[in-house]
């Protein structure tokens, strides 16, 4: 029961953070590209709730929800978006390079597919060091078109690495749908299975399904039954990059958008919990209040933080 409420609260929290970014962004103080996770929260929440703090994740350009669900520091994230020295990468990375080593968030990069081999390397190191940590690699449908996707699955399978590959299929790479990108005969699950990876397709907007299924899958990985891939269908609500909705451009059909908005991951679990009598309007208001307070604090912290000084410009190019 507690688990379900926690799943709900976490989706609510991430949704609220993304909404706040969306609201503040037009003021022109967060001056870096942002790829918001609004609508795609169920996947990271369902999966990360099954991870330990010592497990590692890597992500791509749309990484806010992954970072937050894995326990990344909110103040440092918002500060990073504001380009401040208090940011998780001292303002040198921006929204596309979130990192929180303490929470096991090793990297996020915007070059599609590029953290897949790096995450694979982390898991390889874990194996060589004989520890039981798991690496979760988050990527999108387009990343499966990159060569490193196959290269990494092959290597993970060959060395039986403890990796969960998480493919969030939101059906679009920027404005390009699957049609011009992938053959109709192509099947990510079959591709992945043919490389020796245990592979599963799950409704990516149903956090309870994601949580329960990934729990078993992650347990199997931990017990050294081989790497796995989960393919989760989901949908991004806003534009590819930026705080707005751009459906006026008509690259997605109204019917399709309507279908996915109805499948809202937040409303879905909210309804279930209300029906079960676990959630009330009062409780929702209380949660929202708690969450909003923390978000407000983080934004205030970020705004008040200083920019990096000039001596930071040439620092860190090389490690000593």
């Amino acid at each position: 029961m507690n688990n379900l409420i926690n799943l709900y609260k976490e989706i609510l929290r991430i949704r609220s953070i993304e909404n706040k970014i969306s609201y503040e962004y037009p003021k022109g103080e967060m001056r870096c590209p942002v790829h918001l996770s609004t609508g795609q929260e169920a996947t990271p929440v369902g999966i990360c709730k099954n991870l330990k703090n010592t497990d590692l994740i890597v992500s791509a350009h749309r990484s806010h929800a992954h970072y937050l669900a894995k326990g990344g520091n909110l103040k440092k994230m918002i500060s990073e978006l504001y380009g401040k020295i208090t940011g998780c990468a001292k303002g040198k990375g921006g929204s596309m390079h979130l990192i929180d080593i303490k929470a096991g968030i090793i990297a996020a990069v915007p070059i599609v597919g590029s953290t897949i081999p790096i995450g694979t390397g982390l898991a390889w190191a874990n194996k060589l060091k004989k520890n039981n940590k798991i690496v979760v690699i988050f990527f999108g449908d387009a990343a499966t078109e990159e060569g490193v996707f196959q290269e990494s699955l092959d290597f993970a399978s060959l060395h039986k690495l403890k990796i969960l590959f998480v493919c969030e299929n939101n059906f679009y790479s920027v404005y390009s749908s699957l049609n011009p990108r992938q053959s109709k005969k192509r099947d990510i699950i079959k591709l992945s299975k043919s490389l020796g990876i245990n592979s599963y397709r799950i409704d990516g907007n149903d956090v309870i399904k994601v949580f329960n299924n990934s729990k078993k899958i992650i347990k199997n990985i931990r017990q050294n039954k081989g790497p796995a891939l989960v393919l989760l269908d989901t949908y991004r609500w806003l534009e590819h990059c930026g705080p707005n909705n751009d459906d006026n451009l008509n690259y997605r059909s109204k019917k399709e958008i309507k279908y996915w908005l109805k499948k809202c991951p937040l409303l879905k679990i909210e309804k279930i919990l209300i029906n079960k009598g676990l959630l009330t309007e009062n409780l929702i208001t209380k949660f929202k209040k708690e969450i909003d307070k923390k978000i407000q604090d983080a934004f205030t912290f970020a705004r008040r933080s200083p920019f990096p000084k000039l001596n930071e410009l040439n620092r860190d190019i090389y490690s000593k």
């Binding site: 040198k92 590029s114 790096i118 190191a125 290269e151 092959d154």
Partner: protein, 352 residues
């Protein structure tokens, strides 16, 4: 104990010593444990350190660079070997976007101690895709270090330094240097990154070069001597960070500069060095700076054409004499028989 050994053996010693000293050093790449052992440079390593330290890899250059990067974040110090420079081009994404920027883009929280060995091919019809000297492409990138030794002593000391460095290092080995000999201490020692070396003292002009071209410059010294030319020769050893101090100091003394580039002339190492000198001490130059390097074309397979791509003692002599206003006697320009132009010397029997 100093012994005379081959360049390839010096590389092998550096790997062996580094692996012995630090159990986190791992060796990987296609063929590192195959029967030929990357031209003998990885010989005996699998036998000594086992299959958890020496990894034959899939033919997936971008992937394996990412795997090595990932492993380096967890304490390993991977050394990747590619049998030709060109294979690394498949991994430029991981090298330039990821490894080179990693430490910077996370604000100095995690660095990438990674060495990538690249072997420059030449001769025996290597052709356009097995003979490129691409040091300058990598040297353009902040966050990378680029090493290019010319003799066995430096090769060993610089490779050990590269493996111990906390940054991504691109380590160039010219295939025609692998069989060259030099005196090398058996023990552990380091040659520091970022220091060029004056390998011949002189006063008439400064010649700067690297890798196999340094070897060619040294071969030219006798004939230059005949013309009473005494050059100061600088072997760069490290391309990035470039040791500007050593170059400037020498040019201030000789007041003349010739760069013998191991790669193409345009947009390359020679451009960088001549720009540096022009910016810092052009007023003291007594003649225009000059450079020779590889012909601005892909390098063809046929030896009939490839021979015209590479500068050698003739080109060095011509450029030097032009700069010093000396006339060359034609008999000093040695034209090698065609079948001697595509092998380093008569002892070299491949594999290429």
């Amino acid at each position: 104990m100093n012994k005379i050994i081959k360049f390839s053996e010096a590389i092998n010693q550096a790997l062996d010593i580094s692996m012995k000293r630090n159990k986190n050093v791992i060796i990987l790449g296609l063929g590192v444990d195959d029967p030929k052992r990357i031209f003998n440079t990885t010989i005996n390593l699998k036998e000594k350190f086992g299959e958890n330290r020496v990894f034959d890899m899939p033919t997936a250059e971008n992937g394996i660079t990412g795997f090595a990067l990932g492993a380096s974040l967890k304490g390993f110090r991977p050394v990747i070997s590619h049998q030709r420079v060109e294979f690394s081009l498949l991994s430029m994404e991981q090298i330039i976007n990821q490894a080179a920027k990693w430490n910077y883009m996370n604000g100095g929280q995690m660095s990438v101690p990674l060495v990538i060995r690249l072997i420059i091919g030449r001769g025996w019809g290597q052709g356009p895709q097995h003979s490129q000297s691409l040091e300058s492409i990598f040297a353009h990138i902040p966050g990378l270090k680029v090493i290019s030794p010319a003799n066995p002593y430096d090769a060993k000391g610089l490779l050990i330094s590269s493996i111990e460095d906390n940054n991504p290092v691109i380590f160039f080995e010219h295939r025609w240097l692998h069989d060259t000999l030099g005196r090398v201490p058996e023990k552990y020692y380091k040659v520091s990154i970022g220091n060029a070396k004056v390998i011949a003292r002189g006063s008439d002009l400064t010649i700067v070069s690297n890798s196999f071209m340094t070897f060619e410059v040294m071969k030219s010294l006798d004939i230059l001597k005949k013309y009473k030319i005494s050059p100061e020769v600088i072997d760069l050893r490290t391309i990035r960070p470039l040791d500007k101090t050593t170059i400037i100091k020498s040019v201030k003394k000789t007041k003349k500069l010739l760069v013998v580039d191991n790669g193409w002339i345009s947009f390359g190492i020679s451009s960088e060095i001549i720009s540096t000198v022009s910016e810092q001490c052009s007023n003291i130059l007594k003649s225009k700076p000059s450079r020779v390097g590889i012909n601005d074309s892909p390098i063809p397979s046929t030896r009939a054409l490839a021979r015209h791509c590479y500068p050698g003692p003739n080109e060095i002599l011509k450029a030097t004499c032009k700069m010093l206003n000396k006339k060359i006697s034609k008999k000093d320009l040695k034209i090698l028989p065609l079948n001697k132009t595509d092998v380093p010397d008569k002892l070299f029997k491949g594999p290429f």
